[in-house]
């Protein structure tokens, strides 16, 4: 019996090892390829080619050299992104709650949601510039619009994901509508909110940059457009690299937050 148990233990350990190895194989190859790609990019590009696409080392050097310029403008962009993201996510959550609890509200907001779904939202930017100027407001409105829709859809799904037996169970406990909402509906819908935020957080950052393309004088997007028109290839690539890094960091932040807030969810378990 004991021997059997030991056998069992070793086979579990083996299986674990195999699993870890497989996972490493899945991402390891990708990471390895990425590194290889950067090495090739660095050493296979001639200096004349740098007029078209700069080497990674040149990009890093430019980020360092132009840090004061890039930092102030990044700050502006990130500020727009964060404000828009927070407003979009919180209104999205509120609208979703209203949508689930009031049929009348759901009916009246539905055409607006359909419109948002069928409209390339970024294309609204010129109108927003006209209405709100080239400053902060127009950008925040655009990012709010862009983050709002995925949030509503996901949170509504989460709120109605509560199955009938669970509602009945809470009813038999004599729980009020409020108690059902806070104790069951909200926790069950948090994973759905995170699904939305994984998408909207990068949308917010890149949306801020795109919204700065139109006549903005501050922000990473403005730097990008000016560098493009003035053929400052290194500055252009350095700013794009920063944008990528910010998006990656923001995404990772949401993933880490998700692991902390909902450790019980399947996506966070082995």
């Amino acid at each position: 019996m004991i021997k059997n148990n030991q056998l069992h233990q070793t086979s579990i350990r083996k299986a674990n090892k195999a699993r870890i190895f497989n996972e490493f194989k899945n991402y390891g190859i990708a990471v390895f390829l990425l590194i290889l790609f950067f090495i090739l990019w660095q050493f296979a590009t001639s200096s004349s080619f740098e007029r078209l696409i700069p080497k990674p080392s040149t990009i890093v050097q430019t980020i360092i050299d132009k840090w004061p310029l890039l930092a102030t403008n990044s700050k502006q962009t990130l500020f727009e992104a964060v404000v828009g993201f927070l407003i979009g996510t919180s209104t999205g959550i509120l609208i979703a709650i209203g949508f689930v609890y009031s049929k009348k509200f759901a009916k009246s907001i539905y055409p607006f949601l359909v419109f948002l779904q069928c409209m390339p939202l970024m294309a609204l930017m010129p109108l927003l510039v006209l209405w709100f100027g080239t400053g902060l407001a127009s950008k925040v409105v655009l990012i709010t619009l862009a983050t709002f829709f995925p949030t509503v859809i996901n949170v509504v799904q989460g709120l109605i994901s509560l199955d009938k037996p669970t509602i009945e169970f809470m009813e038999t406990l004599n729980a009020s509508e409020m108690q059902i909402f806070w104790k069951a509906r909200v926790p069950f819908s948090i994973p759905y909110l995170f699904t939305a935020m994984r998408v909207t957080v990068t949308t917010a950052i890149l949306g801020a940059i795109i919204s700065e393309w139109l006549w903005a004088t501050k922000g990473l997007g403005a730097v990008i457009v000016l560098a493009m028109f003035n053929a400052q290839v290194e500055v252009l690539w350095a700013s794009m690299a920063l944008a990528t890094i910010f998006s990656l960091l923001a995404f990772s932040l949401i993933v880490i937050l998700e692991k902390l807030v909902i450790p019980w969810h399947i996506s966070n378990q082995e």
Binding site: P165, F169, L173, N174, A175, K183, P187, I262, W264
Partner: protein
């Protein structure tokens, strides 16, 4: 006073295809400390009855009382507990805290009466040491045990159980049947138990209510005179086997009759 009194209940569901009578003129009582099973072919409205008793559904005609009060009043006085087929565990809480969910609708004073009670119930259902575990780490049978512990938490007079072991395999179901008998003898509450397993109904019940399908009506009541306390010997006894055989025969007859009526032969 009977624990549960059901008088002439009729329930009609309005579906898109038209109204369907799910239950028609159902009456039966459950006495105090009695274990009653409701059995019948699928679609006979077993779960509907239980939901009407619990006040989750309203009957179109007739009325129900639990210890002399309406289902909603009984709910307020915490006279009954409901065990669902799905154990309903919140994955963000550990097992002990899942068992304590019913306490959260109480005020602080009321809550005091039940201090330490969740741990006791956990021990009673044989889950000692699993209080801090996540429900995801438990097997289906263990989760259902936890659900039963939760149902017993507030010392209900009446337990309403809706196919609680329906999703388990036969081996686990047998084990939990024996456990349920042991637990029930310690708590001595009245039980209304919905099942589609004949062996389960015979082993657990003092009385079986047999329903016929479409519309659900009470087709027969069978008293099960097996001795208490029920244990594995009784489960395997010839008497139990004979009861099961006769219940099976009756069920077959009912199903056949219903089929003949539906196809217009009668």
């Amino acid at each position: 006073m009977p624990a549960v009194e059901i008088n002439n209940i009729t329930k009609i569901f309005s579906l898109k295809t038209g109204p369907v009578t799910a239950l028609s003129n159902i009456s039966f009582n459950v006495e105090e400390k009695e274990f009653v099973s409701v059995i019948g072919p699928s679609g006979c409205g077993k779960s509907t009855i239980l939901r009407i008793i619990a006040g989750l559904l309203k009957p179109d005609e007739g009325d129900v009382s639990i210890l002399g009060v309406t289902p909603l009043e009984a709910r307020k006085q915490r006279l009954y507990s409901f065990v669902f087929q799905d154990p309903i565990m919140f994955p963000w809480r550990n097992v002990l805290s899942n068992i304590e969910i019913p306490l959260e609708v109480l005020n602080r004073n009321e809550r005091k009466q039940y201090a330490g009670r969740a741990q006791e119930m956990l021990d009673l259902v044989g889950l000692q040491g699993f209080g801090a575990a996540s429900p995801n780490q438990l097997s289906g049978g263990m989760r259902q045990r936890a659900a039963i512990a939760r149902a017993l938490l507030m010392r209900p007079e009446v337990l309403l159980m809706d196919e609680p072991f329906g999703a388990l395999d036969e081996i686990n179901r047998d084990k939990l049947n024996l456990e349920l008998m042991r637990i029930w003898q310690e708590t001595e509450s009245s039980v209304v138990f919905i099942t589609h397993s004949i062996e389960e109904a015979v082993f657990l019940s003092d009385r079986i209510i047999m329903l016929s399908p479409r519309p659900g009506t009470v087709a027969a009541e069978i008293n099960i005179d097996l001795p208490h306390p029920r244990n594995i010997e009784i489960k395997q006894s010839e008497a139990a086997f004979n009861y099961a055989t006769s219940v099976r025969k009756m069920l077959n007859q009912i199903t056949l009759d219903a089929l003949l009526v539906e196809s217009g032969v009668n």
